[in-house]
C-alpha cells in the first residue's frame, strides 16, 4: 500500500481546476448547469492560452455575475443586448476573442433583435447560449423555450401554444444565416456530454481566430430550482422532455475544423 503523500505529486496529476476559475463561491443553485458551463469556458480559454485576448459579455439573468467567476475582462450588458456590445468590441478590437454568455430569456426573448442581426452580419464572435427553458433569476417564469405543457410561474396550467406560442428553436433559426459558420446544440448532463460541449467551445474560439464568422453554441441545461426537481430528476427530465424538442448535435458546421 502506497503512502498517500507518494501519490499526490505534480507528475501524477491528471486533472485540476483551471487557474482562470476564481475561488469565489458560486451563487448558482445545486444542480445548475451554469457552473459546469463556466468551467468549460474557463478551461477553453486556459488551454488555448488566450486569457490576455479574451473579452466576455455577461447577460442579465442567472449568469449576470459570470464576471465574478472567470478571471478575464468582462462587460455586463443590459438584458438581451450582449450581442450589440460584442459587435462593437470585436469591430474595435478585431484581434481579440469576444464571446457572449446568454440565457434563453436574454437571448431568445428580449434580445432576439440583437442576436439575429449579429448572426446575419456574421460578426466574428462566439455565442454561448444556455437554454434551460425557464427564467431562473426572476423565479421561474415562462421563457420562449419553455416546453408545451410545462408549468411555470406565469403558465401555472402549463404552456399552451394557443396563448403563448411554441418552444422557440433559436439555433435552427440562426443556422440559416450565411454569416453563421457554426451552430451546434450540446448538453453537460454527463461527463461525456461535457467533454463534447467543451470541444464545441474550443472549436468556436479557434474558428474566431480564423475570422470565419459567428459561432453559436446552445447548451441545453437544467434549472432544478425553477423546475422544482432534484438535480438528478432535472437531468432525467431534461433528457426525456427537452432533448426531443431540442435535440443535441451539430446543426451547421462550416468551420473546417
Amino acid at each position: 500500500m502506497n503512502n498517500i503523500s507518494d501519490i499526490i505529486k505534480p507528475e501524477n496529476k491528471v486533472y485540476g481546476k483551471s487557474k482562470l476559475l476564481l475561488d469565489k463561491e458560486m451563487h448558482y443553485c445545486p444542480g445548475c448547469s451554469h457552473g459546469t458551463i463556466h468551467k468549460i469556458v474557463a478551461e477553453t480559454i486556459d488551454e488555448l492560452n488566450i486569457q490576455e485576448q479574451v473579452i466576455g459579455i455577461s447577460p442579465v439573468g442567472c449568469a449576470v455575475l459570470a464576471y465574478d467567476y472567470i478571471d478575464i475582462d468582462w462587460q455586463e450588458a443590459a438584458h438581451g443586448r450582449a450581442p450589440a456590445l460584442a459587435t462593437a468590441i470585436k469591430r474595435l478590437h478585431p484581434d481579440k476573442y469576444v464571446f457572449t454568455y446568454q440565457g434563453d430569456g436574454d437571448l431568445a426573448s428580449i434580445g432576439t433583435g440583437e442576436i439575429i442581426h449579429v448572426c446575419n452580419r456574421g460578426e466574428n464572435i462566439t455565442v454561448i447560449f444556455v437554454n434551460n427553458a425557464i427564467y431562473g433569476m426572476t423565479g421561474g417564469q415562462m421563457a420562449p423555450t419553455t416546453l408545451e405543457g410545462m408549468k411555470t410561474a406565469t403558465t401555472p396550467g402549463g404552456r399552451s401554444h394557443l396563448t403563448s406560442g411554441f418552444p422557440m428553436k433559436i439555433t435552427e433559426m440562426i443556422a440559416l444565416f450565411p454569416g453563421v459558420v457554426y451552430a451546434t446544440r450540446q448538453s453537460v448532463d454527463t461527463p461525456a456530454a461535457e467533454r463534447k460541449a467543451k470541444k464545441s467551445v474550443i472549436k468556436a474560439f479557434k474558428s474566431q481566430k480564423l475570422k470565419k464568422g459567428t459561432s453559436f453554441i446552445e447548451i441545453v441545461s437544467t434549472c432544478s430550482s425553477g423546475w422544482k426537481m432534484t438535480p438528478v430528476e432535472a437531468n432525467n427530465w431534461m433528457r426525456e422532455n427537452m432533448f426531443p424538442v431540442f435535440p443535441p448535435g451539430d446543426i451547421k458546421d462550416e468551420t473546417g475544423l
Binding site: E52, D73, W74, R81, R91
Partner: protein, 376 residues
Amino acid sequence: MAEKILLKGNEAIAIAAIRCGCDGYFGYPITPQSEILETLAEMNPEKDTGMIVLQAESEVAAINMLYGGAGCGKKVMTSSSSPGMSLMTEGISYIAGAELPCVIVDIMRGGPGLGTIQPAQSDYFQIVKGGGHGDYRTIILAPASVQEMNDFVELSFDLAFRYKTPVVILSDGVIGQMMEKVELSPVKPRWTDEEIVRLHGDWATTGKTPDRKRNIVTSLDLDPHRQEQFNLKLQRKYREIERNETRYESLLCEDAEYLIVAYGLSARVSQKAMEMAREEGIKVGLMRPVTLFPYPYDAIAELVPHVKSILTVEMSAGQMIEDVALAAENRVPLYFHGRMGGMLPAPEDILKLIKSIAGGTFDSADVPGFNKLWLR
C-alpha cells in the same frame, strides 16, 4: 488661414468626429439626422484613420454598441433624433452607471410620439433631466451654429473622458440641416491602446494582462451599502462638473432691463429680436446657456436683480423655463414664448412680446404659438 468650408450641421458633426480621432460610430437612420451616418458612410474613414462606421439594426442596438465600444476604451459616438433617443435612454442609463465616456448627438424633432420630422426643442426634460432610470446626469452641450456643431464634438469627447460620462450634443433639425461656413478642427490621430491607458487609466476591457486585475465594466452592485456609496460618488462627480464645466454666452446683459433666456436655435432667433429691440431703444439682453447640464443657474441669478422681467423662448411648451424659474426665485415676472410641432420662433413675434412686456401689459393676441405669463 484655417480651412473654411460650407457644411450642414449634421455633416459638420460627422467630419469633426473623424478629424478628432473618433474610433467608432454606431447609428440608425432617422430624420432629421441621417446625414451624420450618411456622411460617415460616404467618407469611409476606416480606410484613412481606421474609424469604424456601422449602421445598427435599431437605436437600441446602436446605444448598446456604444456601451460595448466605450467599455473597451474607445472614442465612440452615436446620433439620433427624438423618437430614437427614447429608445436609447435605457442604454444611456447603463453607460452612466458604468461610468463610461461616449458622445451622443440628438437632433431634436417635434413630438410626442412620431410627431413630426420638423425641428423642435422638446427633448429638454428627457435629455437634461435624465430620461432613463436611476440617479444619473449627462453633460449636455447645446450648439447654436454649425461652427459649434463642429467644435462641440471634440469638446464632448474631452469632457466624456475627463469625467467618464456620456456627453450629449443637444441640437435640433434646423441646426442639423442648415448650411454655414465652418472652420474645421485640426486633424488628430486616433489614440493607441497604450495612449488611452496612459491618458485615462487602465479600466477598459482590452484583455486581462498579468500586470493588472481583470477589468469589469458593469452598472450592477447588489449590495445596497456599496450601491449607495457608488451613488454618492456619482453625485460628487456631478457637483464637480457643475463647478468646472458650466458654460453660457451672455449678450448685452450689462445694461439690460429685459432678459431673454434661450438656447440653441431659439437663441439665434432671439438674438435677432434683441437687436431689433435695441434699435427701438428697449434694452434687451440675451442669456444663452451653452451647457444645459450643468445649467448656468448662478449666471442667470446674478442678472435677475438688474432686470424687470425675463422672457424664455423655446421650441417647446416650456421645459427649460423650469430651470430659469429656479434661478429667478420668484424675484421677477417670467414670460414664455414657445413654438411647437416643427414651427419656429420669429424675431418679429419675440419683438412684439418684448414691446408689450415693456409697455406694461403682456399682450400675445397676435403672436402665434404658446405664450404665457409663467410666474407672477
